[in-house]
Amino acid sequence: MNRAEPVMAVIMALCSIGLMVKSAELPVGWIPDEGPGGGAFPFWLGAGMLVCCIWTFVKWLRGRSPYSGSDKPYMDRQTLMLFVTAAGSLTVMIGLIHFIGVYFAVPALLVFYVRFVGRHSWWLTAALAAATPVVTFFFFEIALRITLPKGHTEPMFYPLYDMFL
């Protein structure tokens, strides 16, 4: 935790500078008869963020941060594993949506989590993996008329569209 605090402050400070530079693409000063330029609002917010990051960093330097001198790790091994499993599987699932669409990526995530992480029975896994996309389809595509991304699996849904829409 002791090292994480200043590292995060520096990363966020860099983001703040990036925001200020990006905002300056639009006028940040006063335009006569128009008021503040379009970039002024985000520019000064970026400046404020930068000040806050420096403030946090200085607090840490002076040993005033709650994490100063803390030898507790930012993430222990077990937490890191949980984090990587959860965030990683979600990332893979969202990536898969582009190729195989929501209706195949969703069961894939469920099978991975329920069966391999949670070690539940294949019966429960299969039931959830089958029911969830069906409910999702009827709720979004039929009731709300919102088409969810289907990637390369789109043609498989043409008969369903004909039937329900």
């Binding site: 128009e34 008021g35 985000p42 995530l109 329920v114 991304p149």
Partner: protein, 503 residues
């Protein structure tokens, strides 16, 4: 007075339409389950389920989400009592005496006390709300852009002055939320602004839901995974009619604490940074101080469950007051509701009371209805809620992820937003580990567009002089209060140093 009664009666006519009653019941039940699950509270439920409400008209959608808000406040007590883990931060104070009661085999008494106290708190606060809202809205009608901007400054200042979080980190959270709201097209010139890496998805701006679902859906699950590693011990509850009646009788002794908690919770709830969590903690503290035997608190005193539970429900109603009348949300949950109103094409603020009478009064009346149903459902389904607490996380986590992904996609139908949501969820979680508060950022992204517009308009009127925020009487007084709040932590420190200094 008569006019208000008439409007409220009209509101009941809306709230009691079959569709709306159905939505109230569904919302309350869902809210109870969401609140009962450790880690998930009203804000998570409302953020994740908001995209699902596009199915019904705005009034129904709002009634449904308000019912979730209410139900979750009731439900939070269930895991506080049965697991000793607060179902949401708002139910922290409920664990103090709820858990000892459950350990003594009196879980049913604690659950009934929580349900009844929530009902009383909810009802008292709705009555207060009905009385306060119309006059406040009438005053707010006279507000111009300097007053609007001042009010927003006040909302943000409460986070700095009252939340108790680290000040630079709180300010950072406010600034980044406002900055994210500035992405898209400049409101005045129409020029593209902050289009990072020239990704076209940024042209339509960053929808507040992307940030809210990222933080309160994905980020929350990551957080809960980390904090709930250990095993949880569920207490046993024996429930039967005789014991229920006895439990109701026992509540007689806690009436004073319940009523007090309701008033306290309501007024604390109005403040944006305060809300239900500090409200319920304060109610617990006051109940303990007033008690004849304060040492029984923490060991299983029924008033220790009743006082915070009445306060957290009252606070949730309190936080709706500034949202509906001023367009300034009183809590992260109401910030999301406010964002939802914009999506449904309603302009939040005092004009609602003039132009959308049916919506406003339908919502108010639905709060009365939601309270009654929440009490009934809560008491009737206590065993079902205890069952849901056993829901394994390996099923809950992917289900919530899926809801987040499809819910994040639905409003704009752009995969760009889903990726952005994932980014916000992960970064939000990493920041939260270092105690960066997240609620100010969510409030800021919702208020951002309005804050920028009102600031630019005011400055334009005043030819660039920020004095306009101080010279107009209402704006000036609000700004002064905001500045006092901003300086409060500094004043406290000076005060401490002064007292600590040797005489």
């Amino acid at each position: 007075m008569m006019e208000m009664a008439q409007l409220l009666a009209d509101g009941f006519a809306v709230a009691l339409q079959p569709l709306n009653v159905g939505l109230v019941v569904l919302g309350v039940v869902l809210g109870l389950f969401i609140g009962a699950m450790p880690g998930l509270g009203s804000v998570n439920g409302v953020a994740i389920l908001l995209p699902m409400t596009f199915l019904v008209p705005p009034t129904g959608a709002m009634i449904f989400l308000a019912a979730i808000y209410y139900g979750a406040m009731y439900g939070g007590a269930i895991s506080s009592i049965m697991l000793g883990i607060p179902g949401a931060s708002t139910a922290v104070a409920t664990t103090f005496d709820g858990r000892p009661l459950a350990m003594q085999g009196k879980a049913d008494q604690a659950l009934v006390a929580a349900a009844v106290a929530s009902f009383v708190g909810g009802t008292i606060s709705v009555v207060l709300f009905t009385g306060f809202a119309p006059p406040l809205a009438a005053v707010a009608l006279a507000f111009g852009s300097p007053e609007e901007f001042a009010l927003m400054m006040l909302a943000f200042a409460t986070f700095v002055g009252l939340s108790g979080d680290d000040i630079p980190k709180t300010l950072f959270s406010i600034f980044i939320g406002l900055a994210l709201s500035a992405v898209g097209l400049d409101i005045v010139s129409g020029e593209p602004r902050l289009i990072f890496f020239d990704i076209p998805g940024f042209f339509h701006g960053i929808n507040f839901l992307v940030l809210a679902i990222g933080i309160y859906g994905i980020g929350e699950i990551l957080w809960t995974l980390e904090t709930s590693k250990g095993d949880v011990q569920i207490s046993q509850a024996t429930v039967n009619v005789q014991r229920l009646i006895a439990s109701f009788r026992k509540l007689k002794d806690s009436i004073k604490e319940i009523v007090l908690g309701s008033f306290l919770g309501y007024f604390v709830g109005i403040l944006p940074a305060a809300g239900a969590t500090p409200g319920s903690l304060m109610a617990y503290g006051v109940a303990k101080t007033m008690s004849k035997n304060p040492e029984s608190f923490g060991k299983g005193n029924l008033s220790g469950v009743a006082a915070p539970e009445s306060a957290n429900n009252a606070a949730s109603t309190g936080s709706m007051l500034p949202m509906l009348t001023l367009g300034i949300p009183g809590s992260p949950t109401t910030a999301i509701l406010l964002g939802g109103m914009v999506i449904w094409g309603l302009e939040p603020g005092p004009m609602l009371f003039v132009e959308q009478k049916e919506f406003v009064w339908g919502l108010i009346a639905s709060l009365y209805v939601a309270n009654v149903f929440a009490l009934l459902v809560n008491v009737a389904f206590i065993p079902a809620f205890i069952w849901v607490l056993r829901m394994p996380f390996a099923i809950l986590a992917p289900m919530i992820f899926i809801l987040c992904v499809v819910g994040g996609y639905a409003p704009t139908q752009d995969m760009h937003d889903v990726w952005l949501m994932l980014l916000f969820g992960v970064v939000g979680y990493l920041l939260r580990k270092l105690d960066y508060p997240m609620a100010p950022a969510v409030l800021a992204i919702v208020l951002g567009p309005l804050a920028e517009a009102s600031m630019r308009q005011s400055l334009l009127i005043a030819h660039g002089s920020p004095a306009i925020f101080f010279t107009r009487p209402i704006a000036g007084s609000i700004m002064v209060v905001a500045i006092i709040l901003l300086l409060l932590p500094l004043l406290k420190r000076v005060h401490r140093a002064w007292k600590g200094a040797p005489a």
